[in-house]
Amino acid sequence: MREDRPPPTPSRGGAYSPPPPDQVLENVLEHVLQFLTFRRDRNAAALVCRSWHRAEALTRLELFIGNCYAVAPRRAMERFRRATAVTIKGKPRFADFNLMPPDWGANFTPWVTFMAQCYRALEKLCLKRMFVTDEDLELLASFPSFRELVLICCDGFGTSGLAVVASKCRKLRVLDLIEDEVTDDEIDWISCFPEGETCLESLIFDCVECPIYFEALERLVARSPSLKKLKLNRYVSIVQLYRLMIRAPQLTHLGTGSFSPSEIVAQGDQEPDYSSAFDACRSLVCLSGFREIVPDYLPAIYPVCANLTSLNFSYANISAEQLRSVIRYCHKLQIFWVLDTVCDAGLQAVAATCKDLRELRVFPIDAREDSEAPVSDVGLLAISEGCRKLQSILYFCQRMTNAAVIAMSENCPELVVFRLCIMGRHLPDHVTREPMDEGFGAIVKNCKKLTRLATSGLLTDRAFSYIGQYGKLVRTLSVAFAGDSDTGLKYVLEGCPRLQKLEIRDSPFGDSALRTGLHRYYNMRFLWMSSCRLTRRGCKEIAQQMPHLVVEMINGEEEEVKDDYVDTLYMYRSLDGPRADAPSFVTIL
C-alpha cells in the first residue's frame, strides 16, 4: 500500500516545496531566542525587526510587568501568548509606609480574569504590592499546571484563599508568602493540603499572623520529601520546630518561628536536644525567624553556622555578646539582617568574621526619631573595614558622620545598593555638624557600580549635584526631607540617564524642577513626589505635554482640593492610558 502513503509535507500544486525562507528563519530564530533569558536582552531583540519581534514574543516564557498600570492585561498577554511565568508589581514602594491610602488600586482581579482565558497553562506567578482577593486565588487554583505562587507585600486575601490554593493546586511546589498581610479567617489552611505525598519544595508563611494547627503541619512536612524551604510563623514554638526539623533534615532554608517555648518551661524539665536537630540539617544554608527569641536557646544553632550563607536576626532582640557567640562561626555568611540591639560592638564582631559579606541590613528596634539607636558611624566604619566585598547595605541609625560614609565608599567599591537612614530628620554629621553631602557624594563617586541609593540626614542641593554628576548608573533613588530648592531635583533629572524609579517625599522641589525631567519620564518606570512644592497647574502641564504619561494626584483629604498644592504626585508611563479603577481620592490629569 505504498501509494497510499501521504506526502511528507503539505504541498501546494502537488509537488513537494520546502517551507518559505522567512518561515525557516523564524523557526531558527525561535530556537535561538530560547536561549535569551534576561528580559533586557529580549527587549532589545524584539526591536530588531518585525519577525524578530514576533519570534521573541512567541518564545518569551517569563513575563515581567514592572508596573501593573503600565499596560493592560489584554495587550500584554496577547503579545506574549506562551508565557508560563508572570511577575507583576503594583503599588509604589512608599505605599509600604502608609503614604498611600488603602484601596488605591493595584488589583490583581483584572489580570487573573484574563489569565483564565489566555494563560490556562500558567505555572508560576509572582506578585509584589498587589491587592489580591480570595476569589483571585481561587481562580488561580483552577489552572491545571499551576505550581508556584510567590506573594510579596500583598494584601486583600486571607487564610480562606490559602486554603483553596492548598487544596486545589495538585501540583503546587512553591507557596511563598513574604511580608504579606493575611487576614485570619480562622480556617486551618495547612490541613487543606491533600493527603498523600506532595511535591512541595518551598513553604514560606512567616508573615501569616494566625495560629496554625501544628499536627497538620507536622504531617504535611512528613509527607513532603522534596521540601527544601520552610519558614514558619511565630505561632510555632521551639519544641514544635524541633519536631519538624527531625522530619526534614534535607532543608536548605529554615525560618525558625518563635524560637521560644510556648509555655513556661520550669528548670529541670526535659527539653529536646535542639542542637542535634540542627546538626542533622547538613544542607542548611539560610536561617531566619527567631521572632520571639529566648536567647538561651541560641547555642542550638552553632552546628549550622559554618555553612550558613544567609542569616536573618532582624526580629531577634539580642545583645552584642549574644551575637558574637554565634557570628564567630559564620565565616561563609553573605547575607545578614540584624536588629540594632547588637550595637556597634556586634557589628564589629560581624566585620571581624564575615569576610564574604555581600548584603547587610540593620533594622531599628525602636523606629522613632528620638530613640536611642545603639548603632552609629562606628558600626558602619567597622563593617566597611571588615567586609570589603559588600554589595548592598541598608542601615538605620541616629548618628552618622561623613567620614564613615566616605570610608565605606572607599573600602567597599563593589557597592550596588546604598541605603542609609538617619532616623532624625535633617540631622547633620554629628561630629562636624556639616550636612551629609560629602558622604553621599563620595558614595556616588567611588562606588562605580551603584544602582540604588537612598538618602537621609541633612542634605543641601550640593548632594544632588554630586548624584547628578557621578550617579550615572543609578536606577532607583529615594529622597526624603532633603535639598534646598528646585535645583537639587534638576541636577538629578538632568544628570542620571539610567534613572528608573524616583521617589521623593517632603522636599522643596516644585514645578520648575518637574519640567526639567520631561525628556526622562517616558524612560522611567515612575516618579513619586509627596509633600513637595508641586502645584496642580504644574502637574497638569506635564500631563498635557506627555500624553503617554499617567499623572495621578492623590489627595490626602477627601474633600475638594482647596489650594493649588498637590499632596502626592504619582506619575508613570502607560501604553493604555489612564486606568479605569481609580478611586475618588485620585485625580488623573
Binding site: F97, L99, E263, C421, R533
Partner: protein, 322 residues
C-alpha cells in the same frame, strides 16, 4: 572621573552652581560662627519649654539652625505643600521651626487618614485653614520635651517591624497588644476604635483561636456565655479528635459553664497590658476592658500552677536575658 569628559558642557555649569552654593555656604558658616546666642534664639530651636538650658540640646539645635538658614536663601515666602506660616508658632514642644520673619514651616505629612493602627506614630493633622488661623496643632504628647512630632511613614519601616521593642523583650509573656498591630488591615483593629474592640481568645486544647468583640458586651456574664457559644463546638470537635481540625457542626456539644467562679472544668483568664495573667472578674468591667489584651480559657485544674509559674518565670527570664 571618566564620566565627566563626555559632559564637558554640563560640568562647568554644575561647578558654577556649586561654587555659588559654596559662597552661600560660607556665608552660612560665617553666620553660624558669628551667630550669637540671641540670634540663635531668634532663629528658634525650641525643643523644650522656654528658658530651658540650651547646652544639652545643642545637637538638635544646630541641626535645625542649619535648616533654618536656607530659608533666607531663595524665597522668603517659602512654603511647603501649601501651608504658609503666617506668624510665630509657639509649639516649642514639637520642635517646629519658627523664624522671626515667619516664613518657614516644616512640612508634616498630613496623611492622617491613611494610618490605621500605628500606635508609634501620633497623628499630626494640619490643614490650610488651620495653618492660617492657628498654625500650631499640638498632638497628644505635647508634654514631651524632646520628641519632635512624628511624621507619617517616617522612619521608613514597614509596620510589622515596628513595636518590636515591646513584643520581643517581654518573653515569655504571650504577645503584647502591639504584636497584634502588625496587621494594618482596617478590618481588624486591635485597639479600641469606634466600631469594636477585638481581642484574641484561645482555649486549652483547641488549636485555632477566635476573636471576641468586647464592645458587644457590658458584663462578665454576657462575655462568659459568648465564650461558651464560641468554643462549645470546637471543644467537642477536639474531643472527637477529628484529624482535619476544620470546625463542623457537632452533636453532643456540652455547654461550658463555671468560667468565672472556678466551678467549671475551664476558667476564663486574661493577659493585661502589663503582661500579667489575671482571673476574669476580679476588677470592674470597664477597668477590665481598658486593660485586657488577650483572653484565655484554661483548664481549671492547671490554673494555679500556671499563673503562679508565669509570674515567677517572667522575673527569672527577664533577669537572665539581659
Amino acid at each position: 572621573m571618566d564620566g565627566c569628559s563626555s559632559n564637558d558642557l554640563v560640568c562647568p555649569q554644575l561647578l558654577d552652581l556649586i561654587s555659588k552654593d559654596r559662597e552661600w555656604l560660607v556665608q552660612k558658616g560665617e553666620q553660624r560662627s558669628r551667630g550669637s546666642k540671641s540670634e540663635e534664639k531668634k532663629l528658634e530651636l525650641r525643643l523644650g519649654p522656654p528658658g530651658e538650658d540650651y547646652g544639652t540640646k545643642l545637637e538638635r539645635e544646630d541641626s535645625i539652625l542649619s535648616l533654618g538658614y536656607f530659608s533666607n536663601h531663595k524665597d522668603n515666602t517659602y512654603t511647603f505643600g501649601g501651608f504658609t506660616n503666617t506668624g510665630d508658632m509657639k509649639t516649642a514642644e514639637n520642635g517646629w521651626i519658627m523664624k522671626n520673619n515667619g516664613s518657614q514651616n516644616q512640612q508634616f505629612s498630613f496623611t492622617e487618614k491613611f494610618q490605621t493602627n500605628n500606635k508609634a506614630e501620633k497623628k499630626v493633622i494640619s490643614s490650610a485653614a488651620a495653618a492660617s488661623a492657628n498654625p500650631a496643632v499640638v498632638p497628644n504628647s505635647s508634654q514631651k520635651r524632646t520628641a519632635p512630632a512624628p511624621v507619617v511613614g517616617w522612619p521608613p519601616i514597614r509596620s510589622f517591624r515596628k513595636n518590636l521593642a515591646s513584643s520581643s523583650s517581654s518573653k515569655p509573656v504571650p504577645e503584647s497588644p502591639n504584636a497584634m498591630l502588625n496587621k494594618v488591615s482596617s478590618e481588624e483593629p486591635a485597639q479600641s476604635c469606634g466600631k469594636g474592640f477585638f481581642v484574641k481568645i484561645n482555649m486549652d486544647g483547641v488549636p485555632i483561636g477566635r476573636k471576641v468583640n468586647l464592645k458587644a458586651y457590658d458584663s462578665y456574664q454576657k462575655l462568659s456565655s459568648a465564650v461558651d457559644e464560641l468554643f462549645r463546638g470546637l471543644l467537642a470537635a477536639q474531643r472527637d479528635s477529628s484529624a482535619s481540625g476544620i470546625h463542623h457542626k457537632q452533636e453532643g456539644e456540652k455547654s461550658i459553664t463555671g468560667l468565672l467562679d472556678g466551678t467549671g472544668e475551664y476558667t476564663l483568664v486574661y493577659d493585661d497590658n502589663e503582661g500579667d495573667r489575671v482571673l476574669v472578674g476580679d476588677v470592674p468591667w470597664h477597668m477590665f476592658v481598658s486593660t485586657v489584651r488577650r483572653l484565655r480559657v484554661l483548664k481549671t485544674s492547671e490554673l494555679s500552677t500556671l499563673c503562679f509559674g508565669i509570674r515567677q518565670e517572667k522575673t527569672r527570664l527577664d533577669a537572665a536575658s539581659k
